[in-house]
């Protein structure tokens, strides 16, 4: 039940090759089968796996693996390099608007960790960048969502803007921005309700909030335990809203987190932060190389 990492997976194939002392193309093919399985077990989307394996395979059939004395290790190295490159690139920076306040929208499926991450981001903005955020309770649907954000605000000793649950989220966002201007607060973090990417009405609501607030960042919050569906969710949110980055939550668990690769591959948008616990200081920068090792089970 514990899923095998890539190294264990490659062992059988390696034994066979060792006997022959030379790597053939069919050996590489067999190794690629193991790469595919390792990625699927880590929940990387099957379409993303297909593309990825093709790329790694091309590189492997060339010099690197076939000429190597340790082809297994070489395959792992190639896979890890390609994974890291795919997920890496941009720095985990939070944008700042030229005209304050800077607006950040938190969006995603139900239960992904938006509200908690809103609190964590506010904490980080103050601690690391010396900023003054306003938390905005724009989830008027989920029972006690406002109360949840207010409690986090109290824990952080930070202002929370709310108009109750009888006012539209669009109106709440609008008034919140004015409030931030009045009070000279420089960041506005909008906690939106969880919603399905196929819910047109609610997706329209997000578009309206985007329209009026010109957010500097739209963070898609994704549960790191997400399986194959991660591509549908990320692609759809990105197409409809144009997300600027991703926060991957609950990485303090024992999931492999292949969703990270899937999301990056289909949206091209950077994973900026990872959630490492329920507490408000449990937000870390994203490290592509660490994530690559994790996905490969090493």
């Amino acid at each position: 039940m514990a899923f095998e990492g890539l190294a264990e997976r490659l062992q059988g194939t390696m034994q066979k090759i060792r006997g022959k002392g030379k790597v053939s193309e069919s050996d590489v093919k067999e190794m690629m089968r193991e790469v595919r399985l390792a990625l699927l077990e880590a929940d990387v989307n099957f379409k993303v796996v297909k593309e990825f394996v093709k790329k790694v395979s091309e590189r492997s059939v060339g010099q690197e693996v076939m000429k190597s004395l340790t082809p297994g290790q070489q395959v792992i190295k190639v896979v890890k390099e390609e994974l890291t490159e795919l997920m890496g690139g941009e720095e985990s920076r939070i944008g700042t608007s030229k005209r304050p306040p800077t607006v950040i929208m938190m969006v995603g499926l139900q239960g992904a960790g938006k509200t908690t991450t809103t609190g964590k981001l506010a904490n980080l903005l103050r601690k690391k960048y010396n900023r003054k955020p306003l938390l905005v309770a724009a989830d008027v649907y989920r029972p006690a969502a406002i109360k949840q954000l207010e409690t986090l605000g109290k824990q952080l000793d930070m202002p929370v803007f709310s108009l109750g649950d009888q006012v539209s989220p669009v109106e709440i966002a609008k008034q919140a921005i004015q409030k931030a201007k009045d009070d000279h607060l420089d960041y506005v973090l909008i906690d939106t309700a969880g919603r399905l990417h196929i819910d047109e009405t609610l997706m329209d609501e997000l578009k309206q909030i985007k329209e009026l607030s010109s957010p500097e960042e739209i963070f898609l919050v994704v549960d790191s335990m997400t399986g194959q569906d991660a591509v549908n969710v990320a692609e759809s949110f990105n197409e409809q809203l144009g997300i600027t980055g991703v926060v991957l939550t609950k990485l303090d668990g024992d999931t492999r987190g292949g969703a990270a690769l899937s999301i990056r591959a289909v949206t091209g948008k950077p994973i900026k932060f990872v959630g490492m616990g329920e507490k408000l200081d449990a937000l870390e920068l994203f490290h592509p190389e660490r994530m690559a090792s994790r996905i490969l089970g090493m």
Partner: protein, 296 residues
């Protein structure tokens, strides 16, 4: 019937559909091997027949030769205690609200125990569900010992003559040893107060979860002897196919599915219906494609 070749491409596509539904590689292979054999045996290449066969094979693997009970273990004329467990954000509290509504409609006296004393707003959230469904909630202050809340709740439910007590717990990741110990303690308190209770321990699993759901089921089962699964958020595009592996490897059946955020969005699990839905899209998509091609 529309003609369509049942060839290697067909099986390969089916493999992808199943993997895309989070069924998991090993289980997919098992399903496809069995399907291939059956197709050969019946010598058919009628897609609608194939659809019947694969649904059947799914149900075969799911039920493993037994009659799988998705009914809850409800005590007649006595208090029934149901404990909800699971990782963070999967839908435990919402499912409790939905079930409270269901039992209430059946004429039962229902009570809720606010055993999540940790997450911000968790108690208030359960209270909103209590108001919506017209059901009492037993709670203590945020930050108090969940085992103590459970002790209170069981006592109150007994003394007030409740039929059903639904116990909420804080979400926790299965690799957090101290939190899993805390959960065991909560369960022990219930056991001590009522022999044979909790009568159900329901693990709530989010349908968007991938292979980690199997690890969740294993660890929560070891800690709390899980008796059933509630598969939530099936109203999205995720299929929750990992429940087949959970059933196969751990023997734990699915009892309910969650289909939305409202009170009525909970249904009993039917393996056949679920399997049919799992393949529906696949087969319908193909038929649509065929029609388009035919139209060109």
């Amino acid at each position: 019937a529309r003609y369509r070749k049942i060839d290697e491409d067909f099986f390969e596509e089916l493999e992808e559909i199943l993997i895309g539904a989070d069924v998991g590689f090993d289980t997919v292979m098992e399903l496809i091997d069995e399907l291939k054999m059956e197709v050969k045996r019946q010598n058919t290449n009628d897609p609608s027949a194939i659809r019947e066969i694969i649904t059947e094979k799914f149900v075969d693997i799911y039920s493993d030769g037994q009659e799988v009970q998705s009914d809850l273990n409800i005590q007649e004329n006595e208090l029934t205690v149901i404990l909800f467990v699971g990782v963070n954000g999967v839908g435990k509290t919402t499912t409790i609200g939905k079930l409270a509504h269901k039992f209430k409609a059946d004429g039962k006296k229902v009570m809720l125990a606010a055993g999540d004393t940790f997450r911000a707003g968790a108690i208030d959230q359960l209270e909103v569900w209590g108001e919506r469904t017209g059901v009492d909630v037993i709670k203590q202050a945020e930050g108090s010992d969940p085992a103590a809340v459970m002790y209170d709740a069981v006592r109150a439910a007994k003394s007030r003559g409740a039929d059903i007590l639904l116990c909420d717990t804080a979400g926790r990741l299965q690799n957090k040893v101290n939190l899993m110990n805390e959960l065991q303690k909560v369960k022990r308190v219930i056991e001590r107060e009522i022999p044979g209770a909790p009568h159900e321990v329901l693990l709530v699993v989010d349908a968007t979860t991938g292979q980690n759901a199997l690890v969740q089921a294993k660890t929560f089962k070891e800690a709390t002897d899980v008796s059933g699964i509630v598969l939530t958020k099936l109203d999205g595009t995720a299929k929750g196919g990992i429940v087949l592996a959970i059933r196969k490897e751990l023997g734990v059946p699915v009892k309910f599915v969650g289909l939305g955020e409202k009170m009525d969005d909970l249904q009993p699990f039917h393996a056949e219906k679920y399997a049919y839905g799992l393949f529906a899209e696949a087969f319908e998509e193909k038929e649509e494609k065929k029609e388009e091609e035919a139209g060109d």
